[in-house]
């Protein structure tokens, strides 16, 4: 594999290697369908939680990185990129609301999610 091929595959490799969070985004905009993100990368929240994001207890604050270009299935015309106000369900069943979306210059997104289903406080 040439160097340029390796470099161009870096995004996809990193996301498949470190992306362990599966989450489904439910758009708040009417008429759009859910977006499944199977390999988002979790960042340590600023406010440390008690558990791992994938534990049965889940976490209250979830900060995720993903790049739409590396999704296994490209976005369809009935799907939107995540926007603040959307809700989401993680693979462990914990429900969240999306409070902030931070795009980067390379096409990636950081999503800030706060838990909505009851959790230990």
């Amino acid at each position: 594999m040439s160097f340029s091929t390796t470099v161009s595959a870096l995004d996809t490799i990193c996301q498949s290697l470190f992306g362990e969070i599966s989450i489904t985004i439910h758009p708040s905009a009417a008429g759009y369908s859910d977006l499944a993100i199977p390999n988002a990368i979790s960042r340590d929240p600023t406010l440390e939680d008690d558990y791992n994001p994938l534990s049965p207890q889940g976490v209250s604050n979830l900060i995720l990185f993903f790049n739409p270009a590396t999704l296994p299935t490209p976005l369809s015309p009935t799907q939107l990129l995540p926007a603040h106000g959307d809700t989401a369900t993680a693979s462990n069943g914990v429900k969240y609301s999306l409070s902030r979306v931070k795009p980067d210059n390379e096409g990636g997104y950081v999503l800030y999610l706060r838990r909505t289903s009851p959790g230990a406080i």
């Binding site: 809700t87 609301s97 706060r114 909505t116 009851p118 959790g119 406080i121």
Partner: protein, 164 residues
Amino acid sequence: MLQPSVVTAAVVSAWQSIPALIAQMNGNPANISAHDYSWGSENSLSKAIGQMPAPSILLAYLKIQGGDYDGESVWKHHLQVAIKSGNAADPNSSTPFMSTFDVWWLMMNGGVFGTPQSIRTYALLGGNLAPMIDLPSLIAHQDDMGDFCVGTLIWPEYGDVGAY
């Protein structure tokens, strides 16, 4: 002097008796709770506030102030409350969620225990907590995850109650 956890429990149960406020808490009264500084069984307060789900309300004791205020009150219970409101953009919520400041308005003005009296005028704990004299305040806060508000409330204790 009333036990602090008795005071916080009385305030929480008063808020839990406001139907419109429970609707704002996604229908779950347990989303209104008290932090009692129980080392071991509770997180630190700052961590507990950080982990509050949205919507939820977390009440905590701030301080007790002694003094002879009006000849009838010798203790003032200072409490603080953190408020995180629900997602107003959620199309599937059964009740449209209000802003954090409007949730505070509901907490301060909603009728408690089926009466038209608000928590500011209702004499809690059978009259052992007098209606509020010092009016409550609310201030906005921000962290990485979004906005929330913290309010301060002061209840004078009527007399010197001791065990309740």
